[in-house]
């Protein structure tokens, strides 16, 4: 049960008795994607045991949050999963709204769904693309770069930022959609994204080299995946159809028609397949959400949570005071605790927040989806080859920003 490797373990199946070799992979290695470290105990090229370490990027998100106001935490959440920051914004805002008892407007919910699904698509693209780079298939990465760039342009129009979005607010959004934005989203979702998915599909899915590098590599049984706390595509690849968008619908996900793809063996190939299909399902959700996008305001009509309009602030002393108190003291959140779970690209993203009243959080704990996945890598690669570790690591999609916080 311990996750420390036993150096004394001796090789057994080699004819020639040889000492097992301990090698370090990372913390700074092209295939570790971020600052992660593996200590692998090898018998020839076979991994006998593996110890994984992280913490090299730890920057104290939770401690910093305790010294900020509720709204000031939103930019910090961008830096958790920097591949799909909008989903972190949404997850955090929903946790605080749960505590405040706010019901967000319908338009806000629809927009949150659209930006979440766009984020899921680019997140999966980065995951598959970098995973294939590690396996030597660079072209797919370039193919996925193009739609990702288009989506970043859309996000930039939305909030002026490409990576550090900070788009949600407690009780709503930073701003409404710019004119014609949904048309441009539809153009991208009907044009460049499906084209690039089809290109990568054609290059990989029936490619013999790809199949042999991924099929049966890093498999996990459904019950082990559950016991280890896997969620998201890695769990669904093992055949467990857990998707919070279906199981515990939040926002307005229960109004959309989409499927949850599942795999069988939970190996690297299944994880790839599940992600490919999820991107197509996300496109379906975006189409439906845009078709039914309601009008109306994006922020709740409640002066306790929404900043007064800027025009009023300039000419009205009450609005000016309200604005000032908002910025200096923060939103007043009632005392209590809440846990909100959303289905992020990697799995369940949970925010556990404790308020003791006042303008800032008493405690924020993030449940990053890749935390149990990273813990499970040891289970996935034991008995496999060193090169398989690289394939597996890319396919479980470790994001050090949210792993370390």
């Amino acid at each position: 049960m311990t996750d420390r490797i036993e150096i004394e373990a001796r090789s057994t199946h080699l004819d020639m008795q040889a000492e097992p070799m301990l090698i370090n992979i990372g913390p700074s290695h092209p295939a570790t994607h971020a600052t992660l470290r593996f200590k692998a105990l090898l018998d020839g090229e076979t991994i006998i045991d593996l110890e994984s370490e992280f913490g090299y990027l730890h920057r104290g998100f939770e401690k910093e949050s305790e010294a900020a106001t509720w709204t000031q935490v939103i930019p910090y959440t961008d830096r958790l999963n920097y591949v799909s920051p909008l989903m972190n914004n949404v997850g955090y805002a929903m946790a605080v709204e749960k505590l405040c008892g706010i019901k967000t407007t319908e338009r806000c919910d629809y927009i949150r769904v659209i930006i979440s699904e766009l984020s899921r698509i680019i997140d999966h693209m980065v995951c598959i693309g970098t995973n294939m780079v590690d396996l030597g298939a660079l072209t797919n990465f370039w193919y996925f770069w193009k739609p990702r760039e288009e989506v970043y342009k859309l996000i930039e129009e939305l909030c002026g930022q490409r990576l550090t979005t900070a788009y949600t607010r407690i009780g709503g959004l930073m701003a409404d959609l710019p004119d014609g934005w949904t048309d441009r989203v539809l153009a991208v979702c009907r044009g460049v994204i499906p084209e690039c998915i089809a290109d990568v599909n054609a290059l990989l899915t029936k490619n013999r080299i790809f199949i042999e590098r991924t099929m049966g590599v890093g498999p996990i049984a459904a019950k082990d995946a559950v016991a280890l706390g896997f969620t998201g595509p890695c769990l669904r690849a093992a055949g467990v159809p857990l998707d919070l968008r279906k199981d515990q619908p939040y926002l307005v996900y229960d109004r959309f028609d989409f499927d949850v793809p599942i795999g069988e063996k939970g190996d690297t190939c299944d994880r790839y397949m599940v992600r490919m299909e999820e991107m197509r399902q996300s496109l379906r959700i975006i189409e439906q959400a845009i078709a039914h996008l309601p009008g109306g305001p994006v922020n709740v009509d409640d002066p306790r949570f929404t900043l007064p309009p800027k025009e009023l602030v300039y000419e009205n002393i009450e609005a000016l005071m309200n604005h000032f108190k908002f910025i200096m003291e923060g939103i007043q959140v009632p005392a209590g605790e809440a846990y909100s779970a959303t289905e992020a690209a990697n799995g369940e993203l949970g925010f556990y927040i404790v308020s003791r009243g006042g303008g800032g959080p008493y405690k924020i704990k993030v449940r990053p989806p890749c935390f149990p996945l990273f813990q499970g890598i040891r289970h996935l690669v034991k008995g496999q080859m060193v090169a398989d570790l690289i394939a597996v690591l890319g396919s479980v999609n470790i994001i050090a920003g949210e792993l370390d916080r």
Binding site: G60, K63, V354
Partner: protein, 152 residues
């Protein structure tokens, strides 16, 4: 339901903000968690999260918070345990869910909560030479640690 089964070991329960919560005593925590996992009406097979909270100035000071989810029943529960400052020790839940291993290490690292029977209770985010537990409320935010050399 938990109160009926474990009586006075369940200190209080509430469902604020839609989250079912039970504050229990630490003595039978592993028994309670196993019951939550195995009872056919509950079946909490996922240990989604574990964390600590420091209520500095209150007694007991620390709180360990478990978030559980059931795949089949699709429900959630939050289990909390209060621990005294001079004895922040609780039994490890690793025998119940192996995946809770690293969460417990993290709570140990950040709050100094000791999980009795944990297979490898070492620091996880910080290095071994780090002094103190940074998420405790009395740990200053700007405190610096001594510079260390490479691991030997």
């Amino acid at each position: 339901m938990l109160s009926a089964k474990f009586g006075s070991d369940v200190v209080s329960t509430h469902s604020d903000f839609g989250d079912d919560t039970a504050l229990v005593r630490r003595e039978r925590i592993v028994e309670i968690l196993s019951y939550l996992r195995d009872d056919p009406a509950l079946l909490f097979d996922f240990a989604m999260d574990l964390t600590g909270v420091d209520y500095l100035g209150e007694e007991p000071r620390f709180e360990v918070v478990y978030h559980l989810y059931s795949l089949e029943k699709r429900h959630r529960v939050r289990i909390k345990v209060r621990l005294h400052e001079d004895d922040p020790v609780i039994d490890s839940a690793v025998p119940v869910w192996p995946g809770i291993n690293w969460y417990e290490r993290e709570a140990y690292d950040m709050y100094g909560i000791v999980f009795r029977g944990h297979p490898n209770l070492a620091r996880i985010l910080l290095y071994e030479g780090f002094q103190g537990h940074p998420l405790r409320k009395d740990y200053p935010k700007a405190k610096r640690q001594p510079t260390i050399g490479p691991e030997e």
